[in-house]
């Protein structure tokens, strides 16, 4: 098990992501609402850089009590990172592929030692 240095927290603002490579591992690390999440940066679709695209809240339909469609909104809680090649969306907190949660990216553990952030491989 290796620990790969990602960044100092002070240089890794909330809402951003960093990419680290270690051997064959290509890993995207996200800092989101005080927590860190790390996943394989290889999209399950055609191998694109899954962690290098937009970070977007989940789009939700708003359906009225009478079952009519009222509109759309962005989720208050679910946020996704989107592979820039074709738009595959992954749940930032779990790495699951949003349209089919049976698919998921490999998750890596993130370790903090003081101001330093490491990912454990």
């Amino acid at each position: 098990m290796a620990e790969v240095f990602v960044a100092k927290v002070s240089e890794f603002p909330d809402g951003e992501r960093k990419i680290v490579q270690h051997g064959a591992h290509d890993i995207g690390v996200f800092h989101w609402e005080g927590e860190f999440y790390a996943y394989s940066n290889l999209c399950l679709h055609q191998g694109g850089p899954a962690c290098e695209g937009l970070i977007m809240h989940q789009v939700e339909d708003v359906i009225g009590p009478d079952k009519t469609w009222i509109g759309q909104k962005f989720s208050d809680s679910q946020v996704n990172f989107v592979c820039p090649w074709h738009g595959y969306e992954y749940d930032l907190k779990t790495g699951e592929c949003v349209p089919d949660r049976r698919l998921r990216l490999r998750k890596y553990s993130v370790v903090r030692r003081g101001d330093d952030v490491f990912v454990s491989i």
Binding site: G15, L42, Q46, G47, G48, P49, E52, G53, L54, I55, M56, H57, F74, V79, V82, P84, W85, H86, G87, E89
Partner: protein
Amino acid sequence: MELPLSNDRRMKVDEFDSGKMLANAARQAKQRNYDQFPIVDVDSHHYELESFNEILEYMPDPVMKQLAQMANSGNSKGVGVMPGGVGYQDMGGRAIRYPLRRIEKTEPGVHRDISLTRRWMDAMGIDIAVLFPSPMLQLGLHPQVEAEVALSFAYNRWLSERVLEEEARIRSMIYLPFNDPDACIRMVKEFAGKKGVAGFMITSVRFKPVHHNSYMRLYSMIEETGLPLAFHAGYNWGEQSMGMMNKFISVHALGFVWYNMVHMTNWVINALPERFPKLKVIWIESGLAWLPFMIQRLDNEYMMRSSECPGLKKLPGEYITDMFYTSQPMEVPRDMSLLEATFRCIKAESQLLYSSDYPHWDFDLPSTIYDLPFLKEKAKRDILGGNAVKLFKLDIGAGKLAKVA
């Protein structure tokens, strides 16, 4: 530039390089030894309206030229001259190359379109790309027939002089202004034999019956050139049926297949392959899942209604499997036996032509073919390039042209 995200957030991007964005594609090319065999991409695109001022220099009609130049003078990319279309291909920027392409830098001394095209070709390991326009895929809907004619002559002349003459790795199939059959004939006469001309292309989004008598002389001429004819799919959200759908995914899923289904049905049922037996026809960008449907549906009905199709000497499905198909967007089912059956049904080993459709949102890498578990190595190489080399009679020399990283 700054990209607007959800909940009023913004993402700052300082630079964009499509080669870097496609670094994983280059890695795949190296891992799979794409440098050992030719790869021909039979459907790829550029955004021709980014060069609209250059294209308009070639417009034959001076009055329309001035109108178009004025319409384009405010950097409006053809608004008022080109038929526009509602569409959300970029998915709100999720396909990030859409908004970022405007900040991508290219080297001086080379036309930007050539530079950008070579960049993604090299990343993917592609030797030769057949390049098509993007907004012009809807030009068949232009209400002014003469506008389609003028714009297509301008585009083809510009493309030939500024791109095809300058870069041997880029070819094209010349846009035919199909709403004017006589103009198509003039186009074939002007461009057949020119450098980089791999064939002729009809954009499928239009309301013209391909079997109409006014087109027979055109098909004869193209048949005589020995070059193939292609029907390139597109969408039309303005059409009444398509207008019932409220999402781009719906219009794209059905629309990109619909027009080719209509044209293919007319082509086969009116026995055009019997009248033009040497004319090779390619169906571009409708994917593959429609083909088992077309074969089964038309064969079944033909057996009962053969009196309506007196020109046919064999089953509709047999004509369909004599034609050629580009692979993208290849529908990959959960049950891969469906895809395997489709490949078998359409004689993919000889009739299928790999295409990326890069840079559009649903592009396919060569690995979509190379990684198929049910194909032998020879079939992979034939689909990825061998079939195209044969069909287009390409001379790409002994070595690979792509600079696989």
